[in-house]
Amino acid sequence: MTQSFPEEVLEHVFSFLTSHTDRNAVSLVSKSWYDTERWCRDHVFIGNCYAVNPRVLTRRFKEVKAVELKGKPHFADFNLVPEGWGGCVDPWIVEMGRVYSGLEEIRLKRMEVTDEGLEMVAKGFGKLKVLVLASCDGFSTDGLAAVAANCRNLRVLDLRECEVEELSCHWLSHFPDSFTLLESLNIACLSSEVSFSALERLVSRSPNLKTLKLNRTVPLEKLSTLLQRAPQLVEFGTGAYSAEGLDAYSSLAEAFSGCKKLKSLSGFWDVIPAYLPAVYSVCSQLTSLNLSYATTQSPDLSKIISHCHNLQRLVVLDYIEDTGLETVATSCKDLKELVVFPSDPYVADANVPLTEQGLVSVSQGCTKLHSVLYFCRQMSNSALVSISKNRPNITCFRLCILEPRSPDYLTLEPLDTGFGSIVENCKQLTRLSMSGLLTDRVFEYIGKHAKKLDMLSIAFAGDTDLGLHYILSGCDSLRKLEIRDCPFGDKALLANASKLETMRSLWMSSCFVSFGACKLLGQKMPRLNVEVIDERENLNSIPENVPVEKVYIYRTVCGQRFDMPDFVRIMGKDKADVYNLS
């Protein structure tokens, strides 16, 4: 039946499929669909760079315009993955440079990028339009200079949350004077000064610039100049939002009022509250506001937020307090995403009146709320139950109670029923991060109810292997599981070995998974890489029943890595077992 469709028709139908999951599904239907699909897929997403290798990519897809690659596991964000682990993008750039001369978009997340790699990108992909480096490191401003100098077609340069070695402030000057195509520039991660004159000239000659996110060193006094040059901005990130005196205020306020299309504001380091009203004229336009570096108190925050009636995304510090979140609940009826970071996470009693009540208020007042990341110091089962009943439409729920294993502060019981209520009522939940005191029971609830759960993060929770077993056997949609400091060990892991092939990856650190189990798993499951990450000396003489420090298990078609540092071992794969799938 499928053979009767001419290829052109199939290709035309496939062209309407943009999501990579749809594309992957379609390619599994039959050999001919697989072949047709691979010839016409031009956007490729690789969620784990070690699940395949560059040759596998270029052999399968021939004319790729956009590639997205992810490297290190998520817990690398919190320094749990030692430096040197891997995820270097250079081999990918070499191979893609050989085959994909028409590559237009490169998006990398948590990968190591070198200056040499950036030079190869700059010189090898003449049509490059988009370069997004998210949480990447390993490169310097020299690499950026090479990109600026050579990428004549660049529209987007986004360095979100990268660690850049800042050797020079002049790399921006490497954009030629004739270069006028820039649409998006995000340099907020840079801590050193960039040449302001180069920046100003660049902004002035970029009529299509929609996104400009400055770094902290750009002074407030210079903002109005930039905004006047680019009143068409849609997303703007300020630098340090403070100045001596108020001289700069009126020109800043006027400059903001000229930005009729502005929808997103961020930056706001070192806020002087007196300058906050300068943005009032654009508040009602804003759909996204990030005040998470603004160390200013609740009244000032509440005032500005109360003007933002169309806000959909709010990122803020716990200085907002419960009262400020009540303002959010009444003023921001379109709110979809709330993020509250802690101002002082390492102090035991910080005396900031932000409690579970703030989140409950928002869950009551903001009917469109579906994504939450909330740091706080206390939580109760009753609050969690309320939240789940108020907002059954929540799809992403990440709660971090700062003190590990904190119980319900009212009843001193575990928070099992609270989180159980979340997974039971929020039937579309795809992402969950838990904290507080949790027993195996909560995992029973999760395994039973969280059928759409895609990503789960667990820390300092559970009692026995049963906990892990409930998750692995119950969560049908689970693809990413990351666990730290939980008493989960070999039994649950080995009993659910085949589940691991249906997932992208499993991370377990400071748990009870032994060397022996890792070896056994690696031997029995050829399509899994069981990476033990362990920095102890004399690994070979540690008995097999001793737990590993960290294990990272992921499915792969490529077997061995060849770029491992000495603290990473792939277990259970003797040389005889190594093979390459074509």
Partner: protein, 272 residues
């Protein structure tokens, strides 16, 4: 709910399903037998490390490599000890996995009388990215008095440490050290594996003969990049001022380092 007998995916079908559990972990809240997961064939003990099933201590598991010490736990107490004590102690510390519920009293908060104290830090907790942590640490040290200093406000400050010739960099948390001596000892341990050529797969491994030159000559200098982007010699300014302005560290060696007078560079002359 009864736990269903699991398919044995990896062919250990001879595992007995008896209720005898080889697990040394008990759970106060356990209501279901976990016997279904008892694979005797694997004979994997779930006891704490360093202890055999018979209850006696087993061999010492060997020292952690020096540079691992600093990663394991943020509190200063664990960071600098080498040897097996740190190995077992540090491991236990990160494995506070006794299932007993902590006494409720420990958890009660709200007594406003005691001043806020900096907590012993667990690596990577709370889950906040370094960029944010460093930014907030810089903020709080600006707002606090100099005397309160960075200790009261807690926080941590991860900076990269590079050593000329080493194949990869490391990261350390400056806040866990209290003076230059502690820092230099930790760095010495951290990078000793490179200097000893201890199983390093690097592009430029160092040999043992280099080590001697390194440590006993004036061939190694510790420098740091400050907030202004300048490279400074470590040791000139008071410790608090140093950690306030240090953005990254670099262990220089070779010709660049010769001639830079290392006044407080005792670490270069320390024995291994």
């Amino acid at each position: 709910m009864s736990v269903p007998l699991e398919h044995d995916y990896i062919g250990l079908s001879d595992a007995s399903r008896s209720s005898d559990s080889s697990s040394n972990i008990t759970s106060v809240t356990e209501t279901q037998p976990n016997s279904v997961l008892n694979f005797k064939a694997t004979e994997l003990s779930l006891g704490l490390p360093g202890f055999s099933k018979n209850g006696g201590p087993t061999i010492m598991l060997g020292a952690k490599r020096g540079f691992a010490d600093v990663n394991l736990d943020g509190s200063g107490k664990w960071a600098l000890k080498g040897g097996s004590e740190a190995q077992l102690g540090g491991f236990e510390k990160s494995q506070t996995l006794t299932p007993d519920v902590k006494p409720a009293e420990d958890k009660k908060k709200g007594s406003g009388s005691a001043p806020p104290s900096a907590k012993a830090q667990v690596v990577g907790w709370p889950p906040i990215r370094s960029f944010r942590k460093n930014t907030m640490a810089a903020n709080s040290s600006k707002n606090a008095d100099v005397t309160e200093g960075n200790l009261a406000s807690g926080g941590c400050l991860f900076v990269k440490v590079s050593m000329d010739g080493a194949p990869y960099l490391r990261k350390i948390d400056l806040k866990i050290y209290h003076n230059y001596t502690e820092l230099s000892k930790a760095l010495e341990k951290m990078f000793s594996c490179f200097t000893l050529g201890n199983g390093v797969k690097g592009r430029e491994g160092l040999s043992e003969s280099n080590l001697k030159d390194l440590l006993h000559g004036s061939e190694c200098v510790l420098t740091y990049e400050d907030k202004d982007g300048d490279w400074m010699l470590v040791g000139d300014v008071p410790w608090e001022m140093f950690i306030d302005s240090c953005k990254r560290l670099r262990i220089m060696k070779g010709s660049e380092a010769i001639g830079l007078a290392p006044r407080s560079m005792e670490k270069c002359k320390n024995k291994i």
